[in-house]
Each structure stands twice: as C-alpha cells, then as structure tokens.
C-alpha cells in the first residue's frame, strides 16, 4: 500500500476500522423497555440511591430489635405507604421538601436503632409510614416512561421488600449472638450517613 499524504499507510486506517466494526455499540436508548426491562429497571431503582437503601435496611433492622408484631408490621406498612407516596408523586400532590424528608428518615431510623428505642406499636408504625410516603413520593416522580409499568412496579416493590428482609436478617443474626451493640453501631452509622444526606439536602 502506498502511504497517504500524511505519511501514514491506509493499512492502519483499515485495521482501525475493522477493530471498530468488531466492537459494535448496542443502542442504549430503550433500556428498561418491555416486561423484563421494566422489572430489572424497577428492581435496580431502589438500589441506586444509598439514602433509600439505608432507610429500607434500617426499617428491617429496627423491626428485628422491636420483635413481634412490629417485625412483620413494619415491612407490611412500608411498601404499601411507599406505593401510596409513589401515587402521590405521580399525580403531583404537593408535599414538604422530599429530600429533607428522606434525609431525616435515615437520621431518625438510624437513631432509633442506635439508641434501641422501643416506642408504642402505633407510633413505630406511624413513623415508618410517614417516612415511607417521602421515599415513595421521590420514586413516583422519577418513574421512567419507557419501562413496562407492571414489571417496573413488581421489581421496585420486590427490591424494597428484600431490603427490609436483609435488614431483618442482619438484625436477627446479630441479636442471636448477643450482638445488640453491633446492631446499634450499624444504626449509628446509618444515622451519621443520614446527617450527611440531610446536610446535602439543606445546602442543595
């Protein structure tokens, strides 16, 4: 091959073209479309935000400390009230600043674990239900339009529920081995993370 005007052989250009053609980039514009895409998209959504994730694990941890009936009641109440909050977010019902509510939820839920607070059943349910509305509201506002709504909802709720169960499992495993201090320490760390989220929410 004869060199081109810049002095480089077109052979190199052909190699680069061939290499590029062997690395096709799949179009990403429709990620989350269809039932499976919707499910995966919904399942991953709560895992993408550390504030949401920590709050949901904290609900499970607190439930483990509180024992029955709240260990069951809290994971029942949270998804339902979160869905109600999601519906409010979709419809656009005005609520107080959501990011503040979410940050506050991580602080409070971490705090009640750290101090091993055991309030009356109705109060614990009210606290979790109130914060669940904020978390659901934020998700409701972010719901993608491309995802299949049913698959998305199933994935989203399943992921949330599993995070609660992970929290309960960690709590039970630790408490069985006399690890209340460990659980309370985790609560403290969650609460500290919540302070950071709250700080970020306030400073914008």
């Amino acid at each position: 091959m004869t060199p081109n005007r810049s002095g480089q052989s077109p052979w190199w250009a052909a190699c680069i073209l061939l290499a590029l053609s062997l690395m096709p980039t799949v179009a990403q514009a429709h990620d989350g479309t269809g039932l499976v895409g919707g499910f995966i998209s919904g399942f991953l959504h709560p895992l993408n935000g550390p504030d949401h994730m920590l709050a949901m694990v904290a609900v499970g941890l607190w439930g483990a400390i509180l024992g029955r009936p709240l260990v069951v009641a809290l994971p029942i109440v949270f998804p339902i009230m979160m869905a109600v909050g999601g519906a409010m977010g979709i419809v656009g019902v005005p609520v107080p600043p959501v990011e503040l509510g979410i940050g506050l939820s991580v602080v409070v839920l971490g705090g009640v674990i750290a101090f091993s607070i055991k309030p009356a059943d109705w109060l614990a349910i009210a606290i979790v239900a109130g914060f669940a509305v904020f978390h659901g509201y934020a998700h409701g506002q972010e719901l993608p339009s491309a995802a299949d709504p049913v698959g998305y909802s199933v994935g989203f709720v399943l992921s949330t529920g599993l995070l609660h169960l992970i929290g309960i499992a960690i709590g039970f495993m630790a408490l069985r081995r006399g690890g209340l201090r460990l659980v309370r320490g985790l609560g403290g760390l969650i609460s500290l993370a919540g302070v950071w989220f709250l700080f970020k929410a306030v400073t914008g």
Partner: protein, 160 residues
C-alpha cells in the same frame, strides 16, 4: 404495554393467598367459581372502550384481596366466594379487553399459590404470606396509578 397476563396473574395470586386462610372445603368451589366466571366473561367479551375501567377494577381488586388477608378473622364462606367471583370477573375482563386466550392459562394457575402458602402457614415463617400479600397490594397501587403519568409509560413506543 400494560401487561395483558400479569395483572390478572397478580389478582389470582392474591386470591390464592386468601384461600390459604380459608376453610379447606371452600378451596375447590372458590377455584371453580373463579375459573368459570373468568372463562365466561372472556367468552362474552368486554367492549374495548371499557379498558381503563377494567384495569382499574383489576388493580383495586388486587389491593382489596391482598389487604383482606390482614383481617383478624379467618375468611368465611361468603367472603371467600365473593372474592373468588370478583377475581373471576376481573381476570376474564382484563384478558378479554387486553390479552390473549393463553393469558388465562397463565393467570388462573397462579391461584395454586395456596399450596405453598398453606405449607408456609405451618412454619414459623407463616407471616411471610402476609408480607408478600402487602407487596402485591403495593404493586397494584403503583401499577394502577402509573397510567396517570403524563408520559406514555404504558403505551408502546416505536420499538414495540
């Protein structure tokens, strides 16, 4: 895309979990009633203009059926048959208006979840049934509200 088979399947799951709490003698009649009504409504058909109402009815039924598991008293004959009839009607209607006949074959067997649910009720993890039922209710609330989105989340885009 609104999921022709999945909404009725979730409703059938709710009924199946309710049946796990029902007296054993009521399970077969309830399943028979739900299946008969589903097939009947599907055969008669539903006007396409009723699609929104049908989906709303299905999602509301999923919420009510799932939450009914949390009643302190076990479901009696009237409640079980009423929920079974309600399930049959909405399953048949949703599949008639937005599904295919095969969707019935997918949805109706979901009522058989009562078998693992009964087994679970005999273990220390029995409250797991109620937790899963609450997940169903949450899914129904979300999925039922999503069509209100200003964006076309439930409509096919140019890739579908």
């Amino acid at each position: 895309m609104r999921g022709g088979a999945l909404p009725p399947a979730l409703l059938c799951l709710g009924l199946g979990m309710l049946l796990a709490y029902a007296p054993r003698r009521l399970i077969a009649p309830a399943l028979g009633l739900a299946s008969m009504l589903a097939l009947g409504v599907f055969a008669v058909g539903v006007p396409a203009a009723w699609e929104e109402i049908v989906f709303a009815g299905c999602w509301i039924s999923v919420v009510v059926t799932s939450l009914s598991l949390h009643f302190p008293r076990a479901p009696g004959q009237l409640r079980v048959l009423a929920f079974a009839a309600n399930t049959g009607v909405w399953v048949g209607a949703v599949v008639a208006v937005a599904g295919r006949p095969l969707d019935l074959l997918f949805a109706l067997p979901c009522t058989l979840v009562f078998v693992p649910a009964i087994i679970l009720l005999g273990t220390p993890a029995r409250l797991g049934v109620k937790i899963v039922a609450s997940w169903l209710a949450a899914v129904a609330i979300l999925a039922g509200t999503l069509p209100i989105l200003p964006t076309t989340g439930y409509e096919p885009d140019h890739m579908q």
